[in-house]
Each structure stands twice: as structure tokens, then as C-alpha cells.
């Protein structure tokens, strides 16, 4: 089967236009939200102590399977912990089929991969008050000393389930189901009015 990623397509947010709110006086810093479309995503189900699987994942992504609430990134590829036996592999567009084939043919035992590149949308959130802004609709402890860089959780943002990853002190990746993405953009830009915000479509 041809990888669909090689063909042009529309992202989860292709119908959402740019949004901008001015930076008011006294703002703690501007928030920038961008869509990061067309990464390949693979849902990986596997027992965490599967040594062969860990070795293969390390070969494919430079990291073995991260432990609870952690994301490991190297270059274009990242592995995100989703649950005790579930991870999300993020890779450059077009890489999913090869990675999946590698895993599926390796005889690793009870392991499954499912492509979910289209099922999710990805946003990056940057800006000094990012944590404050995200905390308006998220009950997770986002304190910089607790939700450190590389922390990844599945949680609720407003009324939508998301995967939230801290990429550094002021930067986050928000991954949500495609159909929720327009809502998430509306929610996060609204929560950023206090600071000033720019949403840029891909």
C-alpha cells in the first residue's frame, strides 16, 4: 500500500485561519501557537519489559521506551508515554510505514502498531506565560519545577482530551484528536488574550 503521506492532503486545522490578539500593556509575554502538521504518528502497544522491543525502538528513535509521564525526543523522532503499555511514536512525514514494518516483522511477541498520523493534530505553544495560560483549562500541576521539560501527560484541556508535553520551560506541544483541533485553537487563543497571542496555521 502506498503511504498516504507522500500525497498532498489537508491537515486537521486547514480550515482554521490565523488569529491574532494584541499584546496588552503589562503582559507577561506574548504567546505563539503554531500548527505542526504532517508528522507521522504511530500508536505502539507493547509490554514495557519487552527487551527486544525496547532495543528495536531505541534503534528506530534513539531512545528506549520512556517511563510513565515522559517523552523522549531525538531529532525528528520522539516516543511519548501514553499508558503502562502504550506509547506514541512521532516521526517525520512518510516514515510511519517503514517504522511499522520494522516492528511488525521483528517477531517481538505481543506488540502492535497502528498508524494514527491522521487521527491527531499537533500544536506548539510558546511564550513566557505558557504555563499560566495552559493552567486556565488544565487541572494538571504545570509548575516549572514539577512539569519539567520532557514531561508528557494525557489530560483534559477544556472539554477536549489532549496529550501535553513540556518541551522546555516556556514551550509545549499539545496533541489532540483532529476533530477537536479547531476547538483547541479557539480555546487556547482565547485563554491567551490576557498576554497577547498569535496563532499561525501551517
Amino acid at each position: 500500500m502506498v503511504s498516504s503521506a507522500v500525497l498532498p492532503g489537508r491537515s486537521a486545522l486547514s480550515q482554521v485561519a490565523a488569529i491574532q490578539h494584541p499584546v496588552p500593556k503589562g503582559s507577561a509575554g506574548k504567546i505563539t501557537i503554531k500548527e505542526a502538521p504532517f508528522h507521522d504518528l504511530i500508536n505502539l502497544r507493547c509490554q514495557p519489559d519487552n527487551k527486544m522491543a525496547n532495543a528495536l525502538i531505541k534503534k528506530l528513535t534513539s531512545h528506549s521506551l520512556p517511563s510513565a509521564n515522559q517523552a523522549a525526543q531525538a531529532g525528528d523522532r520522539a516516543v511519548i508515554w501514553l499508558g503502562p503499555d502504550e506509547w506514541l511514536i512521532m516521526a517525520e512525514a512518510g516514515a510511519a510505514n517503514t517504522i511499522m514494518a520494522n516492528i511488525e516483522t521483528a517477531n517481538l511477541g505481543h506488540v502492535a502498531t497502528t498508524e494514527v498520523s491522521n487521527a491527531y493534530g499537533i500544536l506548539t505553544v510558546n511564550g513566557k506565560p505558557s504555563r499560566q495560560m495552559l493552567a486556565k483549562h488544565c487541572a494538571i500541576d504545570l509548575d516549572a519545577g514539577v512539569f519539567t521539560s520532557g514531561t508528557a501527560v494525557q489530560t483534559i484541556m477544556g472539554h477536549a482530551g489532549i496529550i501535553l508535553i513540556a518541551t522546555d520551560e516556556n514551550s509545549f506541544t499539545v496533541i489532540g484528536r483532529s476533530s477537536f483541533m479547531p476547538y483547541l485553537v479557539a480555546l487556547l487563543t482565547d485563554a491567551s488574550i490576557e498576554y497577547g497571542v498569535e496563532y499561525r496555521p501551517a
Binding site: G9, R10, Q15, A119, S179
Partner: protein, 1013 residues
């Protein structure tokens, strides 16, 4: 606002106070313009202008003034703001003044000074406790049309804004903290110092405009040898400099729930003349704290005497606040009425600022302390062992009736005499603020020594400190708080040490009140003057006594009967006095009387803050499919299905819904229709036990399904009732693809995960939701095959090569797709799954290729008609959680071979197959045009008397344009055996009953020939 600077009020002292004299501001109250300063509250600014009368009471419309200086204020409730920013019931004692503030008094008509409703006060004898319960009982028919409208009109204080589109923005936010300290007085500050020193994350919140609490109102206390205010300033500065400390002012903690979850309401811009658009007016904080320190101090209690609600009667502590914080004199000639030493501080301060203290009336027979001596030394007249019997004056207190009493019994023993005063500063003792502690299921204990309840056992990880903990002396409170703060940090996992308590010098005094629960009065029994216990609800001492006489002895009953402690008061001022009167009447000590539960919210909170941004377009999510833009461009009407927005029908050239749906249905049957079915739940099954797991989930077999084939399945709950349905396809040896209903997708996945994780962990099965990975387009109708062929399909679509209920990977228009040959319309049908990013492209290709073949987009309504014509059920429409497969006439799908599946055991009970269960049947109306409303009940005889014997109800009902008559399905008792019988559907609103006959559920193409085109 264009107001000429008016003159500052005549009751303002020339210096002092914590107001900003450099920033004078104008404001309006009841249409008149006044002057005040930044830093004033509305209450202090009104008092500075000599305005005491600010509202009318709830029940009797009595003139009311300003009683307190804080959020415990029961009287001074006003409307603030105009138009769509108007807010009712704001406590004037909390509202920070700004230039242009506009306020109005409430509960008066036509004016505050002359109020018609005040006649209630004259009729007070006829409005006793329980008045409503007693009066508006009979006849019942009067309730709806007469009693309720009158009561509704009379009830409530402020008016909501006429313009319901609140112009303000409100937000919510979440915060985790190690230690949350509620109350920023001296105790809160000490606790914060100890806790913050450990490195713990500390939040310190206070309702007032600045930290310091009651100490801001005191003038005769030193800490560390300097005025207490210096210490407060220093401490606040030190805390502000610590990165682990968050300080919130103008923030009230109004709720304390389980697991140390607390809610705060922060007034972000309420105090600003121009509220910036980018900031919320108020912000609700949802706090999750490891440990909570309650340092809320105490409330001063009123004394109970006739006319104690008159404007000019104030709490003694509040008088000090107005003088020390706002440089405002609340009167010119004062009487102090007390049962403890604290009010003597007020007497001395009044004397300091030149207010004549006409007398100190002390209920105690022999008060003796430094403060008492000081007052006497200044020549003040102290009437010990005396009580105020009554306060006279129409709109302001004028004369007090005073007499000697028996200090033990409260009986009047002396000849009454009169003293003129325009200010009464009263103090009836102190009540630790145990409200939040109690909300969080903390226990309280009666402290007979200090005559108050104080916290005892904690339910949450919390500690009460300082006055809130019943420690009333400053040094003791500071030490208690320092230790409490450290303990809280330690409990949160930090190494902490209590900070040292600095040297403290405050007047030594006796805080213990001498309480008389019986109100001293020389009036004839039954004709005592109105003495208020709960000012906000107009509950008098007599009301409580009456409740007892009428048999209400439980404290909870008395509360409900009299409304004491309800509404905004929540027992802040009234609780102990009411309990005292109750205990006196019942002849039981207070601990035996008990207390009511303090309820959420601790103080009134705006709905705006509670709603936050969960309004309008952010109220809920609208999930959109990838083809959504096309549907909108082509004029589709939408319907909500779960959170999804689905195209409902596509009207053309002003078609009605009926016309559009009829056209879409007919065109699909005669040519072809195209449906966006992307919202169907889709779940990927992987693992060697996937087939076994499916066998246990569904009533029929899936492990025997051949690769590349599809099967319809029915899923039951463990009670044997239908839960979901859908088609599952075997993609590979250990690989299945399940579809679920749109609304059931998330539940079905959770349900299956629960079984896998908790009951059958031995099964090697992994589930992954792929609902949104695939966009799904269904092409249905006799021309379906031709359209796909015209588009260029890489696989043969003939019946032999691609039979019904099978699946193939293919390329369509050059795009990789999964094609499932399944049908929900009864027509030749292909369900095409494509990676979602290409969903819209494929849809557009299909529309183009389908044009010559009459391809018509149809929405969910036509889909419902098409499936109803075929008798296909929709879970959630034909089923409601009480319908099993036998009831649906689908016994054929229940495997008899399988040893088990979820719901099998329940389904095998005899009662599940009884013939009198409600069973699914078709309904054909006699009049082909009559469409029975869904939900209509069926009866055998429409002329029987009420209540009629009902057979069951219609679950689906549509007009079938293809058949030329309506089609309906219904669940009827014993329906399967009744086919051919006549039933009636009585209508409401005088319409004639609809006559119909019971039929089979399949109305169209019963042999199923059309499935092959």
C-alpha cells in the same frame, strides 16, 4: 463620567487612614454625587459623607445601615454598575471605590427614604416565623397563579441586569500548591513565613484589598517594638520577594471540598474604573493543596436588643476600621454596648478622634482591666451590669433605652433611662471562622471558657491557626500560626521550622464575653421590640422563640423554619446568638443543641466566575469531520450527534426539510447517494486473542470470520440488554477492524478496555481508536458500482470479485483506500475509508465522478429514513437499555454454540424471553400521510377511560417517499404475536387518535434483492 469634583464628606478626618488622598474620586449613590478617595470602600465613602441609610431589609423593609467593615456585612447590599455590567447584592463594605462608580440601594420602592414595603414592618406581628408555610397552604390551586407570583415578587433583594449579555469576561484557572493559607491577617502572615521558609510552594489569599487583616484597624499594638503596621509591611515585602510564594488579595476562598480541593474567587478588575478587555473581571481559582492553613480570624458578634438593626448601630471593631483604615467618623456621639473588653478599645479610639462617648454600657457587673480603667480615667461613664433595651429613631438611631439588669438572668432590675447617640458600637463576643473547616467535614467543639465553637478534628489535611483556632490574644495567635505554618509545610513533605514570634505589646484584656442568651427587656411578654439575630433574613429573637414554642427543637429545623443563617449570612454573624437563644429556650447547653452545617459557598460568588469561559462557542466542543467545509459550502443543515456536527440534510432552492429529505431518499434508491459517515467509531484490534475477545464481546461468532469478510454484531451489557452494534471486519489473522455507533464509540472502547484490564488480562489483545484516522464516505444506490468504476478503482467491484459483506484494500482515483461492501440502506453500497487528510479530496472526486449517475449527497435524516424503510435498528433509538436481542426479533444473532459472551447468563433468564415483553414491530398507519410522533403511546381502544392501558411506544417514525406512506417502528408488549392487529395512537391537544396496523419491521425490499444493485 462627567461629574464636577464634589466636596469631600464632612465625616472625613483631616489625616490618617489607608486611603490615597492624592486621588480623590467621585461616585454616585441613588442618583446623588459624592466624593471619596482611592482606597475607600463604597461603605467608608458613604459614611464619610454621613450616609448611613443604604438599604431596606428583606422582609420588613426596615431602614438598614452599615453594620460591619468586611465580607460579613448583612445589610449594606447594593447594586453596582450600569447596563450589562450591573451586578446586584454587592456588599458595600467590600466594593472598592473607583471614579465613576454608580451604586443603587435595593429592596425599596419608590425611594430609600420612603418605602411602601415598610408597611410590612407595622404588620410584623402577622409575619412571624413560618409565615409562608402557614399562610399559603390552601387551596392548592391558588399556589401557581396567586401565591407564587406574589412571593416571587416580594422575594429576593437585588435585580439582575436587564441586559443578560454580561459585558464582563470571567475566567477560571487551576493551581497546585503545597500549602494554601486562607486569610492574610497577622496569623496568616506568620504561617506563611514559617511555611515559605521551608521552600514549599505557598499561596496566601485574602479577601481584602491589602494584607494585614484586623491589625490594619488597630492603633495601639506594637510588634517588635514598632507599630504593628510596620511589621505587616515588612513581612508582606519579605513574602512578596520569595519566588515560592503567591499572594492573592481581593480573593475569597468560598468553597472547601474533598481532597483539599478549594475554590477561590478573585476580583481582578472589580475595583477599576475602566475594566480592560483583556483581563477577566473575576477569576475563579481551583486549588489543589497538599495542606491547608485556615487563618480566617473571627467574626464579632452583634448584641441582641430592640432596634439593633437601625442605621448607626455598628460592630465595635468595624468602628475602629472606619476610623483607622479610612479616616472616617461613623458618628459624633457614641454609646458603646459590650459584654467584653474589646469594645473599650473602640471607646478610647473614638475619644482620641474627638467623638463624644456618651456612655459605655457593659453587661458585666464588675469589668476590671487596664482598658476599663483607662476609659474611666478619661472620664467616660461606664454603666456596668446594664443593658440596652431598645434603640429608637426612625431612619437612624437616636435614643437608647438603658436599664440595670441582673447579670445572671438578664432580668431588668432598674428603672430605664435614656441616652442620645447617633452611633452605637456593639460587641457581643467573638466567633472563630470555622465555616470552611466545617464545610470540609471538620468537627468543631464548644469552648465554654471562650463561649465559642472552635475546630477540633480535621477531615482534610488542614490546620486552623490563630483566632480561627480560638486563640484570641495576638502573641498566642502568632505563635500558633507560626507553628501551624511549619506543620503544614512538614505535612506537605518539607523540612520546616516555626519562625520566632516577635515581641508583642497589646492592651491586656478579657476577650471572654459575658453572655446573656435571654434578651433583657422590660416590655410585656409578646410585645418585645424587634431584636434581630439574622439581619439579612430579618430573623428576630422572637422568631426563634416562636419556633421552639411550635415544636421545632432541632437546630436544623429551627434554621429552616425561621431561615436563620441562610442566604448570604451562612451563620457568620447570627449562628452563635441563635444557638444561644435556642439553648436558653430549650434549657439545654449549646453543645447539646449542636450547630447547623456551614454550606458552600462561604460567601456569594458570581455565576460569571463559576462559568468562566465555558460559554457561547466554548461551552462545548463541536467536532468537525474533514468534509465539513464541503457540507457548509453546499448549504447543509447540521445536527448534533454526540459532540459531532453532522450534515442533517442539504436543502436546494429553498426546499423545506421534508422536501429535501424526500428528494435525497428517492435519489439514493433510484440512482445513488453519498453520505459522510466519518463519525462512526472505529477501533483497531490486534493480537492473537482478538477473535476470542470478539467472541466474548458480541452475541455472535467472530473468530470463525474469514479474512477479508465483514460481520454485523450486537454487543450486550452484562445485564443482557443491547449496548451497541456495528460491523466488524477481519483484516488479517490477528487483526480486526470494529465499527461502533457514533455516540457509543468512546464508551465502547472504555468498556472493552475494562474487560481486558480487569477480567481477562490473559488475553493478548490491543485496542487502538482509529475513528479519526479514517474519513468514511458511503456511496449507496443502484449506480454505486458504476461511480466507483468511473473514478478508477484498482479492484474489480463485481459481486463475484467483491461480494456483499467483504472488504478490500484498493486504489480509488489514485488514492489508497479500504473499501467495505456493507449497507445501511439496503442498496448496493460501498463504505470507503481513506486516510483523513484525503477525506475531502476523495469526496470531491466522488461528487464529480458521480454527477452523470445522479449521485446526491444525503444527510443523517435521509439515512434514518433509508434504514427505517429496511427495519434496521439504531441503538439508542430502538433501544433504551431495557431491550434485549429477542425483543428486537434478532434472536438469530445470539449464538447458541458459544460457551459464553457478555450478557449471555442474563439473557438466559426466563424473563428475558417472555412473550409480554415490549417487542419491536413495524407500524403502518391507515392514513398513508399520517406520521405518528416518535414517543407516541399505543393503545388497543382509544375510547377507554384514563389512565389508558398502554402497549408501548413508537421509537422511529418517518414518511417514506419511495413507498408513499409513513413507516414506523414501535416497542409493544407482546408485539411479535400481534402482527396484523389494529392499534391506536391517541394524540394530545384534541387531535384525533391515529389508527394503524402492526406489521413486520422491513417495509422495503423484504427479500433483499437490491443489495446487489
Amino acid at each position: 463620567m462627567n461629574i464636577k469634583s464634589p466636596k469631600q464628606g464632612q465625616m472625613r478626618l483631616s489625616d490618617g487612614g489607608r486611603i490615597n488622598r492624592k486621588n480623590p474620586v467621585s461616585f454616585r449613590f441613588d442618583g446623588k454625587t459624592f466624593a471619596g478617595f482611592e482606597g475607600d470602600t463604597l461603605a467608608s465613602a458613604l459614611l464619610a459623607n454621613g450616609v448611613h441609610l443604604v438599604g431596606r431589609s428583606f422582609k420588613y423593609h426596615r431602614p438598614r445601615g452599615i453594620l460591619t467593615a468586611g465580607y460579613d456585612e448583612p445589610n449594606a447590599l447594593v447594586e453596582i454598575g450600569q447596563g450589562n455590567q450591573q451586578a446586584p447584592n454587592i456588599r458595600a463594605t467590600e466594593a472598592m471605590l473607583y471614579d465613576g462608580l454608580t451604586a443603587k440601594s435595593q429592596n425599596r420602592w419608590p425611594t430609600l427614604g420612603f418605602d411602601i414595603g415598610a408597611v410590612n414592618s407595622l404588620l410584623g406581628r402577622f409575619f412571624p416565623a413560618g409565615f409562608y408555610y402557614k399562610t399559603f397552604m390552601f387551596p392548592a390551586v391558588f399556589w401557581k397563579n396567586i401565591y407564587e407570583p406574589i412571593i416571587r415578587k416580594a422575594a429576593g433583594l437585588g435585580r439582575a441586569a436587564k441586559d443578560h449579555h454580561d459585558a464582563d469576561r470571567y475566567e477560571k484557572t487551576h493551581r497546585h500548591t503545597d500549602v494554601l493559607i486562607v486569610g492574610g491577617g497577622v496569623s496568616g502572615l506568620m504561617a506563611a513565613l514559617s511555611a515559605a521558609g521551608s521552600g514549599a510552594r505557598v499561596m496566601l489569599v485574602d479577601d481584602a484589598n491589602e494584607l494585614g487583616g484586623w491589625m490594619l484597624s488597630e492603633n495601639n499594638t506594637t510588634i517588635d517594638g514598632k507599630p504593628a503596621l510596620n511589621w505587616i509591611k515588612q513581612t508582606v515585602k519579605a513574602l512578596e520577594a520569595m519566588s515560592n510564594v503567591t499572594i492573592l488579595t481581593r480573593t475569597q476562598c468560598f468553597g472547601y471540598m474533598d481532597h483539599n480541593f478549594l475554590t477561590l474567587a478573585e476580583k481582578v478588575t472589580d475595583h477599576l474604573p475602566q475594566r480592560p478587555d483583556h483581563l477577566p473581571r473575576q477569576r475563579m481559582w481551583k486549588i489543589r493543596a497538599k495542606h491547608v492553613v485556615l487563618a480566617q480570624g473571627n467574626h464579632e458578634r452583634p448584641l441582641i436588643f430592640g432596634g439593633n438593626d437601625k442605621p448607626g448601630v455598628m460592630m465595635a471593631g468595624a468602628v475602629r476600621s472606619y476610623i483607622n483604615c479610612y479616616a472616617v467618623l461613623p458618628g459624633r456621639r457614641a454609646v458603646i454596648y459590650t459584654n467584653n473588653d474589646d469594645a473599650y478599645k473602640t471607646a478610647l479610639l473614638l475619644d482620641d478622634v474627638g467623638v463624644k462617648v456618651a456612655a459605655i454600657v457593659d453587661q458585666r457587673p464588675t469589668p476590671s482591666s487596664v482598658l476599663v480603667s483607662q476609659a474611666m480615667a478619661r472620664g467616660m461613664v461606664v454603666h456596668t451590669g446594664h443593658a440596652v433595651l431598645d434603640a429608637n429613631g426612625t431612619r437612624h438611631v437616636g435614643t437608647l433605652k438603658i436599664a440595670a439588669i441582673n447579670p445572671k438572668t438578664g432580668d431588668v432590675t432598674g428603672q430605664p433611662f435614656y441616652i442620645d447617640a447617633d452611633l452605637v458600637a456593639m460587641s457581643g463576643g467573638f466567633t472563630p471562622v470555622v465555616n470552611l473547616h466545617s464545610q470540609a467535614r471538620g468537627k468543631i467543639t464548644w469552648d465554654d471558657e471562650q463561649v465559642c465553637f472552635r475546630p477540633s478534628d480535621y477531615h482534610e489535611a488542614a490546620i486552623c491557626v490563630g483566632a480561627c483556632n480560638g486563640v484570641f490574644d495576638l502573641k498566642g495567635a502568632m505563635t500558633d500560626a507560626a507553628v501551624g505554618g511549619a506543620m503544614a509545610a512538614m505535612a506537605a513533605g518539607f523540612t520546616a521550622e516555626a519562625v520566632m514570634t516577635p515581641a508583642v505589646d497589646e492592651p491586656s484584656m478579657v476577650m471572654r464575653p459575658h453572655v446573656l442568651w435571654k434578651m433583657p427587656s422590660d416590655a410585656v411578654k409578646g410585645q418585645e421590640p424587634k431584636a434581630f439575630v439574622d439581619f439579612q433574613n430579618d430573623v428576630t429573637a422572637s422568631d426563634i422563640k416562636l419556633a421552639v414554642r411550635e415544636g421545632y427543637h432541632s437546630v436544623e429545623h429551627v434554621k429552616r423554619y425561621t431561615t436563620n443563617g441562610m442566604a448570604t449570612d451562612q451563620g457568620k454573624l447570627s449562628n452563635i446568638n441563635a444557638l444561644g437563644i435556642l439553648s436558653d429556650q430549650l434549657g439545654k447547653p449549646i453543645p447539646e443543641v449542636g450547630t447547623t452545617t456551614f454550606r458552600y459557598p462561604y460567601t456569594p460568588t458570581t455565576f460569571g466566575a463559576i462559568a468562566g469561559r465555558d460559554i457561547k462557542e466554548l461551552f462545548d466542543t463541536e467536532r468537525l469531520t474533514r468534509m465539513d467545509a464541503w457540507h457548509r459550502q453546499h448549504g447543509a443543515e447540521f445536527e448534533h450527534v454526540g459532540q459531532w456536527m453532522r450534515a442533517w440534510y442539504y436543502p436546494i432552492d429553498g426546499e423545506t426539510m421534508e422536501e429535501a429529505v424526500n428528494r435525497e431518499v428517492k435519489k439514493t434508491r433510484t440512482h445513488a447517494g453519498i453520505l459522510d459517515a466519518s463519525t462512526l467509531g472505529k477501533i483497531d484490534f490486534r493480537g492473537k486473542d482478538a477473535g476470542e475477545f470478539l467472541d466474548r464481546l458480541y452475541t455472535n461468532m467472530f473468530s470463525t470470520l474469514k479474512i477479508g469478510r465483514c460481520r454485523y454484531g450486537l454487543m450486550l451489557k452484562d445485564d443482557g440488554m443491547v449496548m451497541d452494534d456495528g460491523v466488524t471486519t477481519r483484516l488479517g489473522e490477528n487483526h480486526y477492524h470494529m465499527t461502533t455507533t457514533t455516540g457509543g464509540a468512546a464508551n465502547v472502547l472504555s468498556w472493552m478496555e475494562e474487560w481486558l484490564q480487569t477480567e481477562w488480562p490473559e488475553l493478548d489483545v490491543y485496542l487502538t481508536s482509529v475513528t479519526e484516522e479514517w474519513s468514511v464516505t458511503t456511496v449507496s444506490g443502484p449506480n454505486a458500482r458504476k461511480i466507483l468504476e468511473a473514478l478508477g478503482c484498482s479492484v474489480s467491484l463485481t459481486d463475484d470479485a467483491f461480494p456483499f459483506m467483504s472488504y478490500q484494500d484498493a486504489n480509488l482515483a489514485g488514492l489508497p483506500v479500504r473499501i467495505f461492501r456493507i449497507s445501511f440502506t439496503g442498496e448496493l453500497s460501498f463504505e470507503i475509508n481513506i486516510k483523513a487528510r484525503h477525506g475531502l479530496a476523495l469526496w470531491q472526486h466522488l461528487m464529480k465522478a458521480g454527477e452523470p449517475f445522479g449521485l446526491t449527497p444525503y444527510g443523517t435524516e435521509a439515512m434514518h429514513v433509508l434504514r427505517a424503510e429496511k427495519g434496521f435498528i439504531i441503538v439508542g433509538q430502538e433501544t433504551d437499555g431495557s431491550v434485549n436481542p429477542h425483543d428486537l426479533g434478532m434472536s438469530w444473532i445470539v449464538s447458541k454454540k458459544k460457551s459464553d459472551f457478555i450478557g449471555k447468563r442474563a439473557l438466559e433468564r426466563k424473563s428475558m424471553a417472555l412473550n409480554n415483553r415490549k417487542q419491536l414491530v413495524g407500524i403502518k398507519t391507515e392514513d398513508p400521510k399520517a406520521i405518528i410522533p416518535e414517543g407516541a403511546h399505543a393503545v388497543l381502544d382509544p375510547h377507554q377511560s384514563y389512565p389508558m392501558e398502554m402497549l408501548g411506544q413508537v421509537t422511529s417514525s418517518y414518511y417514506s417517499p419511495v413507498l408513499g406512506h409513513s413507516v414506523a417502528m414501535a416497542l409493544l408488549k407482546g408485539g411479535h404475536a400481534m402482527k396484523g392487529q389494529t392499534v391506536w395512537f391517541p394524540m394530545i391537544n384534541g387531535k384525533k387518535p391515529i389508527k394503524a396496523v402492526i406489521t413486520d419491521t422491513v417495509f422495503y425490499d423484504p427479500k433483499g434483492d437490491r443489495i446487489n444493485g
